[in-house]
Structures are given as structure tokens and as C-alpha cells.
């Protein structure tokens, strides 16, 4: 015969396999990283590859990121796919501001990362001048596989975040834009 207390905390075949011990961070990050809702900021040719990633052949649904939302209120990862002109930069930043925390930014392709081949009066030389970019993806345009790889790296990054700390502090990681010559 065992006591009631021993029965609750000790081995109990009825609940075995249904209880998981983990840290809150690990669970929050696991949930967040597997349901990234992208905001497709398609601005130029790279957006075509982004569409390819969302379509059946490459199927980003396998990684839980297929729910592309055109409303900033419903998305948490802005994929900047294309050439950011100065004129558009203002809108890009405003849309980013309207996205709910926590949120991430992926700079897809040469243009979004650095201005690409557009050394021109009209083009912002890298979207990291207005947004805190988490992942940069090279290519002009990057192949869909490269975008998937970038998104998987974003998942890895999300899994290392201090989410409980962010929730307690009531604020996500402070936004850091790169400094240095611009």
C-alpha cells in the first residue's frame, strides 16, 4: 500500500507520457518558432521567389510558416523581399511599427540587405537602416531553398530567445539598428 501523496508525485501509470517537464522559455519559443506568420513585404523581383516558397512546390507550410498575412496586425515576421526605395522605406517602417510584438525581420536578397545593384539616388542602401534585421539572405534573387534555409535559421534564433524575460519586462529585446558609417 502507498500513501496518497506518494501516489500523486510518484510513478503513476495513468498520467505517464502526458506530463512534460520543461522551462517556460523552451515552450514559448517552441510555440513561437513553429507558427511564424510572415508579412510578405514584396517590393520587387525577390517577391516572386517568396511566392514560390509559399506555393506547393516548395511549401513552407512544412515549417509552420505558410500563413502569410497582408495585415501587419496578424503577422509577426516581416520578409522584406525586394528593393526598398526611399519613398517606400517610410511605408515599410510604418507597417513594421504596426506589427504586434514579438516580431522579426528577414532581409531577403541583395537589395533588401544592402541596396544590391541599385547604387542610386532612389534606393535605401539596406533595409537595416530602418529595421532591426534578424536574418540576411544573399542572392539576387535567393532561390526558394535559400529563403527556407533563412527561415529555419530564424526559427533557431527564436528558440534561443529569453521570452519569459521579455514578457516580464513587458517589452521585447531593445531595438538595435547597426551603427557605423551609413
Amino acid at each position: 500500500m502507498t500513501t496518497a501523496t506518494e501516489q500523486d508525485v510518484g510513478y503513476n501509470s495513468k498520467i505517464e507520457g502526458n506530463v512534460i517537464f520543461s522551462s517556460a522559455d523552451a515552450i514559448i519559443n517552441w510555440v513561437r518558432s513553429n507558427s511564424v506568420w510572415p508579412m510578405p513585404m514584396g517590393l520587387a523581383c525577390c517577391a516572386i521567389e517568396l511566392m514560390g516558397v509559399g506555393a506547393s512546390k516548395f511549401d513552407i507550410a512544412r515549417f509552420g510558416m505558410e500563413v502569410m498575412r497582408f495585415s501587419p496586425r496578424q503577422s509577426d515576421c516581416m520578409i522584406v523581399a525586394g528593393t526598398v526605395t526611399y519613398k517606400m522605406a517610410e511605408a515599410v517602417r510604418r507597417i513594421y511599427d504596426q506589427m504586434a510584438e514579438p516580431k522579426w525581420v528577414v532581409a531577403m536578397g541583395a537589395c533588401a540587405s544592402s541596396g544590391g545593384m541599385y547604387r542610386s539616388y532612389a534606393v535605401l542602401q539596406g533595409v537595416d537602416r530602418i529595421l532591426p534585421v534578424d536574418v540576411y539572405i544573399s542572392g539576387c534573387p535567393p532561390r526558394p531553398e535559400a529563403l527556407i534555409d533563412g527561415m529555419l535559421r530564424l526559427q533557431e534564433k527564436i528558440r534561443t530567445e529569453k521570452s519569459m524575460w521579455q514578457i516580464k519586462a513587458g517589452r521585447p529585446n531593445p531595438e538595435k539598428l547597426p551603427t557605423g558609417p551609413r
Binding site: Y86, K87, A89, E90, R93, R94, G115, Y118, R119, S120, Y121, A122, V123, L124, Q125, R129, I130, L131, L177, P181, R182
Partner: protein
């Protein structure tokens, strides 16, 4: 059909591809109306402009490409703008072809040509407050340093509008030989990543 016989004010313009004429700005609207209604040039394919460079007369030339949907012929009409270099003027044709509306706005945006009678002459590519006309010859490709147009965004992010790093560019291919052998090259080959271009911009 020789258009010059019908329109005596036309002047032939050298061209390699299709008939081309110069037309004085004063006759432009009547000419275009007649070409569309009586000569079958019902389609305005494109409307653009040429900047001949500072101090040239004429400096700005508006160029219209028309297409005849009955005889399948192209026609080019060029018309020198009137007025001051800083504010050249030409009459609008947007009431003849509705499609000219945005072409003319683009020309205004890029060259600063004022289309007289245009219903809504605003910038179309650059933002409204942009102070320059980028396709004018004196405008540098890299652009100028200036404040970002949205002050609140600039304050939060520190973004500025800055001359683009040209890295020895623009990158152009030579005029000689077949296309397959002409790799685009930086015009200024003295530039390298490691050392600053003498007297120029670029990373230190």
C-alpha cells in the same frame, strides 16, 4: 504618305527605325489631335523626354512615340520645350490620349518639364517634397545628402538620404564588339574595396 505635305511646320528628324519629325511646341496639340483622328495613329506608345545638357538650346525635348493600328506603323514626334531651363514648358496631350497623363507626370518628376493644361501634375515616382529632377544631366546618379522625408521615422531610426556608394560605377559595357564579350565594368577602375578612391566617395 508624307506627313510634311500635310503639316508644313514639321521638320524631318534623323532616325534609324521609323519616320520622325520635329514639331514646334505651338503646333503640337493640333498635330497630335489630327494624327489620332485623321491619320490613324490612335495609340500613344510612349512619351518621354531628352535632356541635351545645361546651356544647350533647346535643352529639353519631349518625345512621343505613336503607333498606327491600321497600317501598323510607328511614328516619332519630338518637340522642343519652351521657357526657362529651370522650368521648361510644353502643352499636355493628356486630353487626347488619357494614357499620356502618367507619362507626363513621370516626365515632370524626372526632368521638371511643366505640361501646360495637365489635370494633375504631381510627382509620380519620387515623393512629393523631393527637391530635384533626377534625370537632368547635372544630377549625379548617387544623389544628394538630405533629410529623410518622414521626420518621425528619421528620428526613431536615424535614417538619412545619402549619396549611394558608387564603387567606381556606373557599371557599363563598352561599345565595341559583340554583346557576349562585353562584361559590364566599373567606369572608374581605380576604385578598390581597400583604399578610398582619390577625391571620391566610398568606404575608407
Amino acid at each position: 504618305m508624307n506627313l510634311k505635305e500635310t503639316f508644313a511646320f514639321l521638320e524631318e528628324r534623323p532616325a534609324k527605325d521609323c519616320p520622325a519629325y520635329n514639331c514646334p511646341a505651338g503646333h503640337l496639340v493640333n498635330l497630335m489631335q489630327a494624327l489620332r483622328d485623321q491619320h490613324g495613329y490612335s495609340m500613344l506608345v510612349d512619351m518621354t523626354a531628352v535632356d541635351e545638357g545645361p546651356g544647350q538650346t533647346p535643352r529639353f525635348i519631349a518625345v512621343y512615340h505613336l503607333f498606327n493600328l491600321e497600317s501598323f506603323e510607328y511614328l516619332r514626334i519630338a518637340s522642343a520645350c519652351e521657357g526657362d531651363e529651370s522650368a521648361p514648358e510644353i502643352p499636355t496631350v493628356s486630353h487626347i490620349w488619357a494614357g499620356a497623363d502618367w507619362h507626363e507626370r513621370e516626365c515632370y518628376d524626372m526632368f521638371g518639364i511643366r505640361f501646360k493644361g495637365h489635370p494633375d501634375l504631381r510627382r509620380i515616382l519620387m515623393w512629393d517634397e523631393y527637391p530635384y529632377y533626377p534625370l537632368r544631366k547635372e544630377f549625379p546618379l548617387a544623389g544628394f545628402d538630405m533629410d529623410f522625408q518622414a521626420a518621425d521615422v528619421a528620428e526613431r531610426t536615424g535614417v538619412r538620404i545619402q549619396p549611394a556608394p558608387m564603387a567606381g560605377g556606373p557599371f557599363v559595357s563598352g561599345d565595341e564588339g559583340p554583346m557576349s564579350e562585353k562584361e559590364p565594368r566599373a567606369k572608374d577602375q581605380s576604385w578598390r574595396e581597400q583604399h578610398k578612391k582619390p577625391g571620391g566617395s566610398g568606404p575608407a
